[in-house]
């Protein structure tokens, strides 16, 4: 029932602007269910986003919400968290937002291992601007700026996150939204920089151009190509879901707090 999570929504702002069948709405509900599961104080939650279809999410959610500039969500979030570490900060980004223009803030948030929960909504495309290829568009797929098929290779964004220093990485899909809820709970509980890549469907700007007839077809693709990590290797179009990596490292705001403490001692 929506009523069970309605308290976390700005219902007056609904219905949302996303296209029919767009996965972002489904993911929004899954995220909200994670926050509900975590029983976080609504006043203490901050949701930060960049620019893109995915990044319109915070506007519908009844927390402290910040819709920033394209690609910069993590840098704003870093300011929030560094200044007031007790806040629970979630960061919502599109694949383009996070990995194209926002790539640098992404690797640096990872390097600092700052305690943010980053959710990348990967619909393989720039949705908001109408379907240009993103750094996460699969090889050979069509986009308005890849009219002959994408020549480039996509990022394996969780590999990049890990190499850069993130301490938690997981993947789910709009279809596997219960898993998503669980992974976000775990990501939040990781005391460091956590990334949850969420495969979503963009029927309008990606699906139509890539032979998906309906939104349901795209969800079906997610269902069929997702492979639970540890159970089977992901080959071809398949991809792993579940917790991809987890490790421990000093967290930025904690280190800073220790420094302040140490200086007091001196």
């Amino acid at each position: 029932m929506f009523s069970e999570i309605a308290q976390y929504f700005r219902t007056e702002a609904l219905p949302h602007i996303w296209c029919p069948g767009c996965g972002i709405g489904t993911i929004t509900a899954a995220i909200v269910r994670s926050i509900k599961t975590l029983q976080l104080d609504q006043n203490n939650v901050v949701i930060v986003s960049g620019i893109g279809c995915s990044s319109r999410m915070p506007g519908y959610l009844d927390f402290n919400t910040l819709h920033t500039t394209h690609g910069r969500a993590l840098a704003f979030a870093t300011g929030i968290k560094a200044s007031r570490p007790e806040l629970d900060v979630f960061v919502i980004m599109g694949d383009g937002d996070a990995s194209a223009i926002g790539g640098n803030h992404f690797i640096h948030a990872a390097r600092r291992n700052i305690d943010l929960t980053a959710i990348i909504i990967n619909n393989s495309i720039y949705g908001m601007t109408g379907g240009q290829s993103s750094p996460m568009t699969p090889h050979d797929k069509r986009a308005t700026t890849s009219p002959y098929g994408n020549l480039e290779r996509p990022f394996q964004i969780l590999d990049v996150a890990k190499a850069a220093g993130a301490t938690y990485g997981a993947r789910a899909t709009a279809f596997h939204n219960q898993l998503l809820t669980k992974l976000i709970v775990n990501a939040y509980n990781n005391p460091g920089f956590s990334v949850v890549e969420t495969i979503s469907q963009c029927p309008v700007s990606y699906g139509r151009r890539n032979k998906f007839k309906t939104p349901a077809d795209m969800l079906m693709w997610q269902k069929e190509h997702a492979v639970m990590i540890g159970q089977k290797e992901a080959v071809g179009e398949d991809f792993s879901i579940g917790e991809i990596f987890k490790s421990e490292a000093p967290e930025y705001t904690g280190e800073y707090a220790k420094l302040r403490q140490r200086l007091k001692g001196e």
Binding site: P15, T26, P215, L219
Partner: protein, 69 residues
Amino acid sequence: MVSHSSKIIVNQDWCKKCGICVAFCPKKVLGSDELGRVVIVEPEQCIACKICERLCPDFAINIEVNKDE
């Protein structure tokens, strides 16, 4: 024995007629009318799995479950 009775409520103001719920309902409870609107075809078949509710991108379908023990 536990029996469920469930009520399916579609918020037509929010529904965008994407067809996801119809496609994924394991029990073919849901269907579309000629204008694409979601209609409840076989209410009694519903097993309250909430797949439709959770997959709906528009928070437009609600399954109200009455647990009778």
